[in-house]
């Protein structure tokens, strides 16, 4: 595989850590947005190599984790409709809804299937014209182009039995929500490299200006993360020392261009428009979601099946759950701070999405640190 070993080179890692220690003069809290980065950080123990002053907190960058319980409930309700085949990514099947999950719905007779790609769901609709195939579409700007391509293909082929239940979300409005919260303790961001490879770095400049936080677009290998962190800390130190303005910086130049992937953006814009969206832990955020445009109404499961857009239920059962996923997703607590971590809540018996998802922060700690991180928290 190209450019993996080089970006994991232990010698370079050691020097990057030393450089980070050299430039750090005070306490900084940096949030990595992407769940993929969280996994790399925990897997390689990068957080444990950092100088004392620097804390990494984990952000809302796992699409499965930020999907609110109301939308999981809606997908389960759709799956239980007669004649409907609901498909989604594997992780979605085990995320607990209010009373049940998609796997249990399948055990009750619902036709629920795992697909690797939204385009596979279109193939499924082609192969089984007697079923109404609904793709439960979650993901950030990275997966939205694939859903857009699926919608376009279904339209081109005139497939009448395919639709999307869109829970797609955009990252910058969530960053804005985190920064404008009273509880926010984030000094800088490592922005998600692959989201930015679609959208480009320019999208982050207004955020950087408005909140005066450095944003460094960062890749996923250990050296990427350390280099991104170093760039972020250097900006923070310069701001503290001389009042220097902060800016958007691109560490991940091998995959991210300033303008992003214009073909992918065009595809998304053709099919989707921005809309308000609910996030687990963050509530409703303006302009943070992708809904199908009027021209694709036939492919919108909510319109086809006349479903209500689920409203957030902050007093509901989710609020009574001991799961602190909402706080974990805002970087306010770490998985091992959760009283349920590695006790009631494990990947076999997950209480919340961050323990289910392959990109979830709780699953990362469980997988790579196991019960030791819980011991350490005590």
């Amino acid at each position: 595989m190209k450019y993996l070993a080089e970006f994991r080179d232990p010698e370079r890692v050691r020097h990057s850590v030393a450089e980070l220690a050299r430039v750090t003069t005070q306490q900084w809290t940096v949030m990595e947005i992407c769940g993929g980065q969280t996994h790399a950080i925990v897997r390689y123990g990068l957080d444990q190599l950092l100088p004392q002053g620097i804390e990494l907190v984990h952000g809302p960058g796992c699409p499965v984790c930020v999907t609110p319980i109301e939308e999981i409930d809606q997908a389960i309700a759709v799956a239980l409709l007669p004649g409907v085949t609901l498909c989604s990514f594997g992780d979605m099947l085990r995320v607990p809804g209010t009373d049940t999950d998609l796997l249990q719905a399948r055990a009750q007779g619902a036709d629920v299937r795992v697909v690797y790609s939204p385009l596979d769901a279109v193939e499924l609709a082609l192969a089984e014209p007697e079923r109404d195939v609904v793709f439960f579409a979650v993901g950030f700007e990275t997966t939205t182009p694939a859903s857009a391509a699926a919608a376009l293909r279904a339209k081109q082929l005139g497939i009448a039995n395919f639709s999307l239940l869109s829970s797609h979300v955009r990252v910058p409005p969530a960053m804005s929500a985190i920064l404008s919260s009273d509880e926010c303790r984030v000094d800088g961001f490592l922005a998600a490299g692959h989201v930015c490879s679609v959208m480009g770095s320019a999208e982050y400049e207004p955020l950087c200006d408005r909140y005066q936080v450095p944003i460094v677009i960062t890749g996923f290998e250990p050296l990427d993360i350390l280099q991104g962190l170093l760039a972020c800390v250097k900006q923070l130190e310069a701001r503290a020392a001389t009042g220097a303005a902060v800016h958007v910086e691109n560490q991940y130049t091998r995959a991210v261009r300033e303008s992003g992937n214009v073909h992918a953006q065009a595809l998304v814009n053709e099919v989707f428009e921005r809309a308000p969206r609910n996030w687990r832990g963050l509530g409703s955020i303006e302009q943070s979601g992708f809904e199908l445009r009027e021209g694709y109404a036939q492919l919108d499961a909510r319109r086809r099946l006349q479903l209500e857009m689920p409203s957030l239920d902050p007093q509901g059962k989710a609020a009574a759950s001991p799961c602190i996923a909402g706080r974990v997703l805002r970087g306010l607590e770490k998985p091992a701070d959760c009283p349920c971590f590695a006790r009631e809540c494990t990947p076999e018996t997950p209480l919340g999405a961050p323990m289910v998802s392959s990109e979830g922060a709780c699953a990362a700690y469980f997988q790579h640190r196991g019960r030791s991180s819980q011991e350490a928290a005590r």
């Binding site: 080089e6 996994h39 997966t143 692959h194 280099q227 073909h263 990109e359």
Partner: protein, 81 residues
């Protein structure tokens, strides 16, 4: 879904929204290459949910590694001084 590592294109798609083939280590997967029209067989792409979103730029990767090494050498020289 987002834990993407680069894969190598081994076959391009016949039609614009069709699927080409990309190798990840030993695994060969169908991938839609609609958004990376510049990509050729042998290029490395980043794939999400069966969809290529970016072509890896080898020159930029080398530049990043060179920057890391330059910082290391500067640090080492500074340490000796």
């Amino acid at each position: 879904m987002c834990l993407a590592i680069p894969g190598c294109i081994v076959e391009l798609a016949a039609d614009p929204l069709g699927q080409g083939k990309v190798r990840f280590g030993e695994v060969l997967r169908p991938v839609c290459l609609a958004c990376v029209p510049e990509a050729q067989v042998g290029d490395y792409v980043i794939v999400h949910a069966g969809f290529a979103i970016s072509v890896l730029d080898g020159a930029e990767a080398e530049r990043t590694l060179a920057l890391l090494d330059a910082a290391r050498d500067a640090g080492a020289a500074g340490g000796e001084a």
